[in-house]
């Protein structure tokens, strides 16, 4: 069992399957707002869905409309259960606060070497912990 510490930006608890994107994500353009499926062609996780996943990516990028997309995904029931970042940018922070999606950042870089898509994890976004179960 591996445990990583981060900084709490939006509180909450989530347990579920991980989806890892090694690339930064722009919520506007990279993700279908109706389904949560990654649509960017050169993405390493194209075709997979972020719905009900623990989504981890280094940081956000692109248009501030991205915050609205996160909010829309949540309303459609297609949002991730939690988001983990190395550094959260304003687009992701605002999107997660208004959508009440647990958000941690300032996780150590090594997490990308240890965590794999499909791992089961618990995110405790009160204590700021990510625990990899298997």
């Amino acid at each position: 069992m591996l445990k990583f510490k981060g900084r709490v930006l939006v509180e909450g608890i989530a347990k579920g399957e991980v989806l890892v994107s090694k690339d930064p994500i722009s919520f506007l353009g990279d993700i279908d707002p109706e389904t949560g499926i990654i649509i960017r062609r050169d993405s390493d996780i194209q075709g997979l869905t972020i719905k009900d996943k623990i989504l981890i990516f280094p940081h956000g990028k692109g248009s501030t409309v991205g915050s609205y997309i996160i909010y829309r995904l949540k309303k459609r029931g297609c949002a991730p259960k939690a988001i983990l970042n190395l550094r959260s940018d304003p687009v992701v922070i605002i999107g997660c606060v208004i959508s009440e999606i647990p958000l941690l950042d300032m996780l150590p870089k090594e997490i990308f070497e240890k965590i794999r898509t499909g791992n089961e994890v618990v995110v405790d976004a009160y204590k700021g912990e990510v625990i990899i179960l298997k």
């Binding site: 930006l9 829309r72 959260s88």
Partner: protein, 399 residues
């Protein structure tokens, strides 16, 4: 972050869930980005309100927050069409309805229906004032030309700042961050707004997110500094530049203590390299002027030049401005425009309009910002010309 009693109360939900969430966003942003407190703003400019850009996601968001009112003077960026000419613009009815739902939501919130990217012509900020402005050209204009203080806010953050009337005190709100690091010496003649826009764009490519000091610009007319702001905001995320003899914050002492780490000279060929990408002229099907929105003086100058031409335009010529400036333009000027088939429209901007319905494929403009976005977002072929060449092209029908 330190919060006052009133701010704590809003955060705990005393004014309801909308204000609570707005406060939570500001506090989280401030905490994440190292602010110590919130500061009061005098003007929020809300960007990201065209249905073309924000879609149903943004519409649903704005409707949810339209249950409550803004707590500070707030203006709004352009929408997807001219409110009075939308049917002439070939706007589909479904688009019209959704855009009007956004307009009503903003109205309920108490946001002024200015629909312009030039809020500085609606209310000019003073030196040292704190603002929360979206829209990159306006942010640069406020910081660099007016000496006011705003970060480059995004669509949603301008809404939250307007609801609370405050922003986290960080970035451009903090004196010590407002220091130039790159010295730009302009060795190319900048005579008009076309070249000024391309200059701004070129500088933006160098500075990226850094603050620059721009020297050696001889012409400092309003249209020139405005075009520099628009160009620089297109190619960079830099929130501020200083320009000799214009930026109010430049004082002798500040210049002496400057912390310049890089010096760049901009030569004529730097500008030509950019212009070469937009050299197309032939068979244009539209000429657009007004990115950013035209000022009163710019429209009168265009009017004076247009009187030289007989007859009507051969290629449709559209001038874009704000409703406020439109209302100030004398009737005889508008009449002359109508006679010559020159369209003067407001509330919108072709960058945020649903251009695919308007049958525009080959366009000529004087604005690098417009050229960049229309080519990249809408896939339109764009040529760049000086204002007068644009007008000549519209009347003669060929370059």
């Amino acid at each position: 972050m330190y919060l006052t009693k009133e701010e704590e109360a809003i955060l705990s939900g005393e004014l309801g869930p909308e204000y609570q969430k707005a406060m939570k966003v500001l506090v989280k942003l401030g905490d994440a980005l190292g602010a110590e407190k919130l500061i009061r703003i005098v003007h929020a400019h809300i960007s990201g309100i065209s249905y073309q850009n924000i879609g149903d996601a943004g519409l649903e968001f704005l409707e949810e927050y339209s249950k409550v009112k803004v707590r500070v003077y707030a203006t709004s960026n352009p929408i997807g069409f001219d409110m009075k000419l939308w049917s002439e613009m070939n706007i589909p009815e479904s688009f019209y309805r959704k855009q009007m739902r956004i307009v009503s939501a903003l109205k309920r919130m108490g946001v002024e229906q200015t629909f312009t990217c030039t809020p500085y012509y609606i209310r000019k900020p003073s030196v040292g004032e704190h603002l929360a402005w979206g829209e990159s050209n306006a942010v640069l204009y406020a910081n660099s030309i007016c000496g006011a203080r705003t970060n480059r806010e995004g669509g949603p953050s301008t809404v939250f700042a307007a609801l609370i009337g405050k922003v986290p005190c960080m970035g451009m709100h903090v004196e010590s961050y407002r220091t130039p690091r790159v010295l730009i010496k302009v060795e190319a003649p900048i005579e008009n707004s076309l070249h000024a826009g391309v200059l701004g764009y070129t500088i933006g490519l160098y500075v990226k997110d850094r603050i620059s000091l721009i020297t050696n610009i001889r012409r400092r007319r309003e249209d020139i500094v405005k075009a520099i702001c628009a160009g620089l905001g297109t190619s960079s995320s830099s929130p501020l530049f200083f320009i000799e003899k214009i930026s109010p914050e430049i004082s002798e002492t500040k210049l002496k203590h400057m912390d310049i780490t890089e010096r760049v000279e901009i030569e004529p060929h730097d500008l030509e390299n950019i212009m070469d990408k937009y050299s197309f002229r032939a068979n244009a099907d539209a000429v657009f002027l007004g990115c950013p929105h035209l000022s009163y003086n710019e429209i009168i100058e265009i009017f004076n030049y247009i009187s030289k031409f007989e007859g009507t335009t051969k290629i449709p010529l559209t001038l874009v401005t704000s409703r406020k400036v439109f209302n100030e333009i004398p009737e005889n000027v508008k009449l002359e425009f109508r006679k010559k088939n020159v369209k003067l429209i407001c509330d919108t901007c072709f960058v945020v309009a649903p251009l695919k319905h308007m049958d525009v494929r080959r366009l000529v403009t004087n604005s690098i910002k417009q050229a960049y976005y229309l080519a990249n977002i809408h896939g339109v072929k764009v040529g760049l010309c000086k204002t007068r060449e644009c007008i000549k092209l519209a009347f003669k029908g060929e370059a």
